[in-house]
Symmetry: C2
Subunit: 297 residues, 2 copies
């Protein structure tokens, strides 16, 4: 697998970074995971906009807006060079892949404050084949809730992910597919997803704040709901309210729309994926298929 | 400069880690900074105990207790190999150095949960010459306060340090030497230090909790205060109380006891380092000198 690191395409096993990299020492960087189908990036503009916002928030300079655009070219190039642009001939399916993209402040002698001498950011991109969790989306998963111990700037997509790592591990150990964070009685994010509930036909998800990751798929799903005439409301969702939710689902770049049928061991609604979730799954699938059609045409 | 990385002593410029290292991707690791004088490690046992607690908290396995002990040997070896065990002949002073030590969960394909196949932790140690900030300790520094936006497990010394990085940078930009975090109206830590105040001759510092880094120098200073007959109390310190504090100081492995004469632009006490701070500086200096004497004898 070829990856891109600081200007060069290299085999992943030869892609190494300095022990002085502030990504390694402080987690001083941001990242994105972008979905690709048949070599086309899904919602690329939104991902690069969020990346730029994250770099601004951390004041990581040295990557001009113009260079951010070249990252998109690099991502496409990686898909091409790694044979991820065309579907598998045997199954006839589309070529599914993800792009992982990380930018850190670069390498410098260790000091908490920004280095006095400007560093060159470390830029790393990798492309990987991806298999959507179709069965899980079909039958639905389960989730547990955990206190949201993350920091107060979850809107910045940094690589400071220890709380997410620990939460996801707790979910795995509980036999669940996701851990949903709860802060001050209200749900925020999943460990690597955004969370939606359905009450009486209305889709609700917590409003964007510094406690929420502004998910790209979250935005797409909100738009799709509106386009489909499904009422949506961005409003806090209390954990105690979920007892009477009809449906619950997660969204994410590699999660798509994933039903949650059981939370903390209790059934949500009928305990099976609900109709609103199904409509949104279908709408998102259509949007992703449109990406592939755009290539074919 | 020779560093130690995963079993080998290598020049730092050749010490590189995989882009798949979970330290680089998730900040999934812990670290220590240990003071060394004339080749002797200060409070080594306490540092290795905290390291072990951090590894336990993150469930990073694969480093046995016995191996943790070898890290101490490696640290001493690094001091030796880098010529940091003997004082500079010209000045006749002691050889001051720091050991930086980091352990991450190791390299694995990216997935938030722990890798299914056990990874070998990445172990990195470096020794650096160190110059105590004597002038700053003599004349005292200044600090600003900032909301404590860190996560809720600050007692684990992880490399998820973006909030600390940003806070320290804010301090630098304000012309201050440290940023002190405030959570729910009470002070917690400095960006890279612990915080102490003196009220009517009594030393006060926030009690250990999940919101506080259990500093080694903090513990030493509390012990020294008790030994010196100075009343100490581990009790929350409200920001508003600091207006009537007689003294304020910071502690840390590379900070020693550093007076803070001004907070958010307002003088603390007389605006100069106070007598209790001076006594504790002197006591800590004595403890560090004892380390050097132990070598000489």
């Amino acid at each position: 697998m070829l990856v891109y690191l600081n200007g060069t395409y290299v085999p992943k096993e030869r892609a190494t970074i300095s022990v002085d990299d502030r990504g390694f020492i402080f987690g001083d960087g941001v990242y994105e995971v972008i979905r690709a189908r048949d070599g086309q990036l899904f919602e690329a503009a939104a991902h690069f906009e969020r990346l730029a916002a994250g770099l601004d928030a951390l004041e990581i300079q040295g990557l001009a807006r113009a260079e951010l655009q070249t990252l998109e070219t690099i991502a496409r190039e990686l898909l091409e060079r790694n044979g991820l642009v065309q579907g598998n001939g045997e199954s006839g399916g589309a070529s599914e892949a993800t792009i992982y993209l990380q930018v850190t402040r670069g390498a410098a002698p260790r000091t908490h404050a920004f280095p006095r001498v400007a560093t060159t950011p470390t830029v790393y991109l990798a492309a990987s084949p991806f298999t959507p969790a179709v069965a899980l989306q079909e039958r639905g998963g389960t989730a547990i809730t955990l206190p949201d111990v993350r920091w107060a700037r979850c809107n910045i997509k940094t690589i400071n992910l220890v709380p997410n790592v620990l939460a996801k591990q707790r979910a795995v150990e509980a036999g669940a597919t996701e851990a949903i964070f709860v802060r001050d009685g209200a749900i925020t994010d999943g460990a690597s997803t955004n969370v939606f509930a359905v009450f009486d036909g209305e889709v609700r998800t917590p409003p964007l704040s510094t406690y929420l990751l502004p998910g790209i798929t979250r935005r797409v799903v909100l738009d799709l709901a509106a386009e489909s005439g499904i009422p949506v409301r961005e409003q806090p969702v209390l954990l105690e309210e979920l007892a009477r939710a009809d449906e619950l689902f997660l969204t994410g770049t590699t999660t798509d729309v994933q039903p949650v049928c059981e939370l903390d061991g209790r059934r949500i609604g009928a305990g099976t994926p609900g109709p609103v979730t199904r409509r949104l799954q279908s709408a998102l699938a259509g949007r992703l298929a449109g990406l592939a059609r755009a290539v074919a045409s």
